[in-house]
Amino acid sequence: MKRISVTVSLNRSTLQFDDAAYARLENYLAESTSLLEGDPDPQEILSDLEQAVADQCTRRLRPDQTVVTLAELLPALEEIGSVQTPTASVAPEQATRGASRPLQQVSEGAVISGVCQGLARYFGLNVTALRIFAVLLLLVTGGGVILVYFALMLLFPYAPLESGVQPLRWLPAKSRALTEFLRAKLSLATS
């Protein structure tokens, strides 16, 4: 025995889908639901989309055909397109900018050189919690973490300084100068 089709109720229409088309449809609707997160009235839009899918698929069925397959569903979804919310035009760009930000040291507001701030920003952690953890590590490793810090300080590039903010405090400025000095020495020694 084999299940041939699933009966799907789409807003005001009822259609038969085969398993593959049903899975794709479920996926499309789940994706739309998550894209509409934050919209005050997602239910209305989802009903409209369901109706659009039903209309588009019905139009594509041959006269003798009763079950919707991927051959009808895929071009239908292509024509409907994925959900674009009217206000979301800026948000995705900001999100990708955040995600692609490299590991950097952040001098502004740094305690030493900005390694903790850079790590916190990259991994989305609370910087104070990370600093407390670093101090605990310092005690546990008997100072070994200082070497790690120093290595990271040499390895991580500095994030560009934001213009228009107050000048760096004493230690971050010194750390930055020291790092730059050591990097110059190292590149001289290796070249």
Binding site: R12, S13, L49, A52, D55, T58, V83, Q84, P86
Partner: protein
């Protein structure tokens, strides 16, 4: 291509204005709007239009009535509310002002 992408945010922003214009001309359902925009710089898809219409309805600029169709389930026919009509007139006027500014610039 470069020209198109430079003005992409403007096109996106103007879609709402154009949808108000289309709905303002006569009562329409979504495939009418899509057909009207197809082949223009503002061609769009249902995935974009439904969320936009939902927003316009929430802002009380458009409303819809159900109308029976010969084939298939009843359809939502959209038209402007009084607030929508006022907004469209204001947008039209502002757009004309912008066009004049652009035309005058560089003379």
């Amino acid at each position: 291509m470069i020209v198109e992408s430079k003005l992409a945010p403007i096109r996106k922003g103007l879609l709402e204005f154009l949808v108000l214009k289309i709905v303002g001309a006569r009562s329409v359902y979504v495939p009418d709007i899509l057909r009207r925009l197809a082949g223009t710089e503002f061609a769009t898809q249902e995935g974009t239009l439904y969320p936009l219409l939902s927003k316009l309805r929430r802002e009380d600029l458009v409303k819809y009535d159900w109308q029976e169709s010969d084939a298939g389930p009843p359809r939502k026919y959209y038209r402007l509310t009084d607030a929508g009509r006022a907004q469209l007139a204001a947008l039209d006027e502002y757009w004309n002002r912008i066009n004049h500014t652009i035309a005058d610039m560089g003379h």
